[in-house]
């Protein structure tokens, strides 16, 4: 396998939801979704809201089950099909290979902001001290006031929580990074910081797949847009229902 082989290859991905509590209605969300993302490339999923962009990200993270198709992730010299992988394999890949910045931070009781970020760095193999250094550097760059670092983020504002979330996503040294509207609740200064973080990771060879509604972010960091609408068969209601 050449070094230029894509890090993400999605082929014929299909996904629907069967809502048993609503009389068993089947909502087709994705069908025939096919695209690749190479190292150092930032690919945006495009198309109107409800077309299934978040569902694709969730499938590539292993959070949603694929009904059909393959989700191949390159791990060094081997390829792993996430659509078939055992739960243990998915967990292992999330530790080392695939990072995900969701729209909202899921807060763990009593764990301080700095420790949340440091834990992500440790999972990718950093020592305790390196991880702490990485966490503090990221929180500083994202302008999270130092007095908040030792507090659990449950009482933080939406924007502050999102910055902790972004710091956590970038603290791991994942070769694949999935970003779901990373700048949604950020001001201009912090958006600029996220742009820099993304550019650095692209230069380091990370494959980035994301949803970016922010047009400036799109213009600056996105290399290519995959129009999810072209794959057809999506259902406008599906994502809302999910």
């Amino acid at each position: 396998m050449t070094h230029e082989a894509p890090l993400i290859e999605v082929e014929g991905l299909a996904k629907s939801f069967t809502l048993h509590l609503q009389g068993g209605i089947v909502l087709p969300v994705l069908k025939g979704v096919t695209f690749t993302v190479r190292a150092g490339e930032c690919v945006a999923l495009g198309g109107p809201s409800g077309i299934g962009k978040s569902s694709i990200l969730k499938a590539v993270f292993g959070n949603y089950r694929a009904d059909q198709g393959r989700i191949l992730l390159r791990d060094g010299d081997s390829k792993i099909d996430l659509a078939e992988a055992e739960p243990r394999t998915v967990i292992e890949l999330r530790r080392r290979l695939v990072g995900y910045v969701s729209q909202f931070l899921r807060v763990i009781p009593r764990v301080a902001a700095r420790d949340i970020v440091a834990a992500a760095a440790r999972e990718s193999g950093a020592t305790y001290n390196e991880a702490l250094g990485t966490a503090e550097a990221l929180l500083k760059r994202l302008n999270l006031p130092e007095r908040l670092w030792s507090l659990p983020p449950s009482t933080f504002s939406g924007g502050e929580q999102q910055r902790v979330n972004i710091a956590r996503g970038f603290a791991g040294r994942h070769a694949i990074l999935l970003l779901d509207e990373p700048t949604a609740s950020l001001d201009a200064e912090n958006r600029a910081c996220v742009v820099k973080l993304i550019e650095e990771r692209k230069r380091a060879g990370t494959a980035i797949l994301g949803i970016f509604h922010d047009t400036t972010l799109r213009e600056v960091v996105v290399d290519r847009v995959v129009d999810v609408g072209e794959f057809g068969a999506s259902h406008k209601l599906a994502e809302e229902a999910a």
């Binding site: 048993h20 969730k58 763990i108």
Partner: protein, 259 residues
């Protein structure tokens, strides 16, 4: 040391009848070192029975449970009573929902923790006391309480003491039955965080029975959903909770009140 990619415990077709009534039917799965599995379902779904069967506190009607010791998977049905006890006292832990079942309530906290060490052959009083003191601190019980009996402890402290008692022998596998069950929400959060940190630091494998999906999400890697004695859905925790396939799992997930 068991390699992380070989299973620690394997359940095959685990089944239990109480007379005519089926309590647990044909449950099969494997758990690996460092893995945390949550068993969820409503009361009466058979999850506590499954835990008792796996931990050899209840005899199977059919099927087998094997456990890896000294590199070999061994069917636990072949253990002598003494071997079974040794396993339960040293290599396994069992955290009961009601700490009164797992602790001796009239005996000091230090003795509760030290007892398990003595069962594994520790004899030196000073070393046992030091180990007990260290574990009380790890579960956030002030070491000045070492000579107090758990009768004088709050519910949350008792549950943390039960954790200490179980972990002092460095077990590889811990069974937990609704460990945060009877506790106030604020006390639950502290205990959950403590369990989460200890399980990760010690690389424990754990099987946790809970009806609380938030507990399952926070602590477990994988989920088994039980209904009427059967596992009806299993998989990666966040996938089962965010993309539930079965009607019953969808009902469970949608019945949780969002705070």
């Amino acid at each position: 040391m068991t390699p992380r990619n070989t299973p620690l415990l394997v359940a095959q077709g685990v089944t239990k009848y109480y007379g005519e009534r089926l309590a647990c039917r044909d449950v099969s799965f494997a758990i690996h070192p460092g893995e945390v599995i949550a068993v969820v379902g409503e009361s009466g779904s058979g999850k506590t029975t499954l835990l008792a069967l796996l931990s050899q506190r209840l005899k199977l009607s059919a099927g087998s449970v094997s456990y890896r010791q000294n590199g070999d998977l061994r069917d636990l049905d072949g253990l002598t009573e003494a071997e079974r006890r040794r396993l339960q006292r040293t290599d396994w832990g069992f955290v009961h929902q009601d700490p009164r079942e797992g602790l001796r309530m009239n005996v000091s906290a230090g003795a509760n923790v030290g007892e398990r060490l003595m069962a594994t052959g520790w004899r030196h009083y000073g070393r046992i006391r030091n180990a007990a003191r260290e574990w009380l601190t790890r579960v956030e019980i002030d070491e000045t309480r070492i000579d107090d009996a758990p009768l004088s402890f709050s519910g949350g402290m008792r549950q943390r003491l039960q954790m200490a008692k179980n972990l002092v022998t460095h077990p590889r596998l811990v069974f937990m039955d609704e460990p945060t069950g009877g506790l106030d929400v604020s006390v639950q959060a502290r205990l959950l965080d403590l369990i989460r940190a200890l399980v990760a630091d010690l690389g424990l494998a754990a099987i946790i029975v809970t009806h609380d999906l938030a507990v399952a999400r926070l602590l477990s890697h994988r989920i088994l959903v039980m209904k009427n004695g059967e596992v009806i859905e299993a998989g990666l925790t966040d996938r089962v909770l965010d993309d539930p396939r079965e009607a019953y799992t969808q009902l469970l997930v949608s019945s949780v009140l969002a705070a």
